[in-house]
């Protein structure tokens, strides 16, 4: 367990969080390599099925990054996603998953540091939680 490196699938909105992640890179901020980023146009396009797919396929955590409230490039996609994830989290519990494996956070294009900090924080949080138990059941 000491060497456990969690696998995080990230869905980053094109306009804010993806650009924030780019800025973290441009500023050479170092963060754990555990996140695997997928660029989507809007956090509001992240289907619950994507999150479930990632968890069922063995991801230890799923990160969704969107624009700050009021800043969504598409008016209200981030609010839509926030609601969707709130509902999804209640279902995760019934699957025996800690709902804290799914993080939705607002990171703007100017917040490279916030992105790096959030990914570091999420990685260490997941290290404490341990591996996603579903991947084990799945392989039975």
């Amino acid at each position: 367990m000491a060497n456990f490196e969690p696998k995080i699938v990230g869905f980053l909105c094109n306009w804010c969080t993806y650009a924030g992640a780019d800025l973290a890179g441009t500023s050479r901020m170092q963060y754990p390599p555990n996140i695997r980023p997928i660029r989507v146009m809007c956090s509001g396009s992240v289907d619950s099925a994507y999150v479930l797919r990632a968890l069922l396929e063995g991801a230890d955590g799923v990160f969704i990054g969107g624009c700050h409230p009021g800043d969504c490039h598409y008016v209200s996609g981030n609010y839509k996603e926030r609601r969707r994830i709130t509902v999804l989290k209640s279902i995760l519990k019934t699957l025996g998953l800690d709902d804290n494996r799914v993080w939705i956070r607002w990171v703007s294009a100017s917040e490279g540091k916030r992105y790096a900090d959030t990914i570091s924080e999420m990685t260490s949080h997941l290290k404490k939680l341990g591996p996603n138990p579903i991947s084990k059941y799945w392989s039975l």
Partner: protein, 651 residues
């Protein structure tokens, strides 16, 4: 099977210093679907791009992944590269292994390489399912609608019309001009607004390309960018404007006098009236709420005296329809409702007036021809108190925003007052003085130094009547002293709010508004004159409080956006939009409800969702809301995301 090429960029040492690019290329060359992979020092350089072109042609590739910097940097470069040799640009994807890999994991080369390979693999999986897309081309009606005939609407109309395109200008009042025509003089030059605005108004009235629809309102809007259909209500004026010569005899003969809205209820007008002498169009309307014929069934003095028989008491609202390609919304502002203000005796004492009333009191063309007077008894006031930030910058009670123009117009009003009453005293209670425009700070200094306006930093605690004086109690926070002034008149610099009815109009146009009703721009910094609805642009104080130069600048900006739209015969639109599998769609309507742009509707005949490609902005919210997977976003399909997730989670 796909024929994909992978090109791994070193970016000098930016990538190659951390990621083992040769290893990545080697691993990728064995990946299913990839038939060629190589690395090169700078892919974006001409030799790099030439190499890509050569390989695509030679290996007959049907898609490429460039593993390099962020797609925001060079996606367009490489898409153009492949397009130049006939490969669909949407069959080129970027794997971001610099900003989101090599630069952020510099201390662990092995892990960085492993991550880079996974990022490339996931991108290859996405590319396998990418459709060859073609930008949508939408025909454009080269005619603009401008809503609101204030200075912003006038400027936008003239800019577009002078460029040779037709403009329909809709104004709710019987004359264009807006609030600017009510003003006394304008800061910081003290130009008379009539002198500078009326030539523009006349130009609008006479312009062969401008169809001026005064006393009209937008009733319905349908369609989308390039192809709007607008229904306009021409409000009943009871005067046949085609016949009316504007002689004014009807106004002279009308026996009814009511308070004038244009003079901010400080003077009277007739029941048949024009707004002001320089009105464009200079045609009167009958106010049926006050006209004797409508209220008591008699009089008809106007009708009897009209030599061209233009009065028509039977007239009804009429409607016209216009096809336009772009819409500029310049509906302006109002001052906050005085019923909202509980403090400062506004609405209770006649001599407590608001900023626009003060303009009329001081206007050379106002009720007293520029001689300041107090409304209660007509006396010339000797002590005038100006209170700033009434309703503005007051998040607890009214509005948190700064109304932006009040600091400046207060200086101007105090200055004009002092010019008219040299032995009078003007006091200004302020929180901060904001003079952030060209010549503005100098204007303030002139007011303080030459005109001896007395600025007191602090709020007013109490305003009450004592005899014929208005007592103003406040604090000077710089000296810590209590201030008591026996004033003859008090002027409140009230908050600017969006003009009445803009909310309804915004709904018709599907425009977003902020919590105060100001129209929301597409981006606060980079797209300040566009709205989120394609083809709709914003100008003037409808978007946020603004002064005249800013409103005019924004209007010209909006006009230039319209002109750039009109400069093409068709409008190209990004094809990354929602698309429906009609065989799968059950017509639940989730996508219709979730769309922020009203771009999806249920087809009346087939009962399945239909995307209007011109309105769709490509956010993908509909796809996430679709329970059956019928609605998917082009090249961000669910299968594509699943494949990417799988590529990232395998092993």
């Amino acid at each position: 099977m796909s024929r994909i090429g992978v090109f791994v960029c070193h970016c000098g040492l930016n990538i190659a210093g951390t990621v083992d690019v040769e290893k990545a290329a080697r691993l990728m060359s064995n990946y299913p679907g990839v038939i060629y992979a190589s690395d090169y020092v700078y892919m974006c350089s001409d030799p790099g791009q030439d190499m890509i072109k050569e390989v695509v042609k030679e290996k007959k590739l049907d898609g490429i992944v460039v593993a390099a910097c962020s797609p925001t940097m060079h996606e367009i470069t490489f898409r153009n590269t492949v397009a130049s040799i006939g490969l669909n640009p949407y069959r080129c994807e970027i794997a971001n292994i610099r900003e989101q890999c090599s630069w952020v994991h510099q201390d662990n080369k092995e892990i960085a390489t492993e991550k880079a390979v996974q990022i490339i693999e996931a991108t290859v999986e996405k590319l396998k399912l990418d459709k060859s897309l073609v930008p949508l081309s939408i025909p454009i009606t080269k005619k603009a609608l401008v809503i609101g005939g204030g200075i912003a609407g006038i400027q936008a109309s003239l800019d577009i019309a002078d460029s040779g395109y037709e403009v329909v200008l809709v104004e709710k009042n019987q004359s264009i001009g807006g609030h600017m025509l009510q003003l006394s003089e304008t800061f910081p030059t003290l130009d008379c607004p009539q002198c500078i605005a009326t030539p523009r108004m006349v130009q609008v009235g006479q312009h062969p390309k401008i169809k001026l629809l005064a006393y009209s309102e937008v009733e319905e809007v349908s369609g989308y960018v390039g192809n709007f259909k607008v229904k306009i209500r021409r409000k009943v004026s009871f005067v046949d404007w085609d016949k009316c010569t504007g002689c004014g005899l009807c106004i002279e003969k009308c026996p009814v006098k009511v308070l004038s809205e244009f003079d901010e209820f400080l003077a009277k007008r007739k029941a048949i009236y024009t707004l002001f002498p320089q009105a464009v169009p200079n045609k009167p309307v009958i106010d049926s709420n006050n006209c004797l014929y409508f209220t008591k069934g008699k009089c008809r003095a106007c009708e009897k005296n009209c030599s061209v028989k233009a009065i028509n008491f039977e007239q009804k609202d009429s409607f016209i329809e216009e096809d336009v390609g772009a819409i500029i919304v310049a509906t302006g502002y109002d001052l906050m409702d005085k019923a909202e203000i509980g403090e400062y005796g506004y609405g209770k004492y006649e001599d407590v007036i608001d900023g626009l009333q003060a303009e009329r009191v001081l206007a050379p063309a106002g009720p007293t021809n520029g001689i300041p007077y107090r409304p209660s008894d007509g006396k010339i006031p000797k002590e005038v108190v100006f209170i700033q930030c009434v309703g503005s910058r007051d998040p607890e009670h009214y509005y948190p925003y700064c109304s932006k123009v009040c600091c400046m117009y207060t200086i101007k009003q105090a200055m004009l007052y002092k010019h008219a009453v040299p032995d009078g005293q003007a006091y200004v209670f302020y929180m901060d003085i904001r003079c952030n425009g060209k010549g503005y700070e100098e204007f303030l200094q002139r007011g303080i130094e030459e005109d001896r306006i007395l600025y007191i930093r602090g709020r007013v605690s109490k305003v009450f009547k004592d005899g014929d004086k208005i007592e103003v109690w406040g604090a000077d926070t710089l000296t810590g002293r209590k201030i008591e002034i026996s004033a003859d008149m008090v002027v409140l610099a009230m908050a600017m709010v969006p003009s009445q009815g803009v909310k309804k109009l915004a709904e018709k146009l599907r425009l977003a508004t902020d919590e105060y009703g100001f129209l929301t721009e597409a981006h606060p910094k980079l797209r300040p004159v566009e709205s989120l609805t394609a083809g709709c642009f914003l100008a003037g104080a409808a978007q946020a409080p603004k002064d005249i130069p800013e409103a005019v600048a924004q209007a010209s900006g909006a006009a230039s956006k319209v002109l750039s739209l009109f400069s093409q015969d068709v409008f190209y639109h990004e094809p990354i939009i929602g698309s429906v599998d009609e065989e799968v769609c059950v017509g639940c309507g989730n996508c219709v409800n979730i769309c922020a742009y009203d771009a999806v509707e249920l087809d009346l005949v087939t009962k399945v969702a239909k995307v209007n490609p011109a309105l769709c902005e490509g956010c993908g919210a509909c796809s996430a809301a679709c329970p059956s997977g019928a609605m998917q976003q082009n090249n961000f399909g669910k299968r594509q995301i699943f494949e990417m997730v799988d590529a990232f989670t395998k092993g």
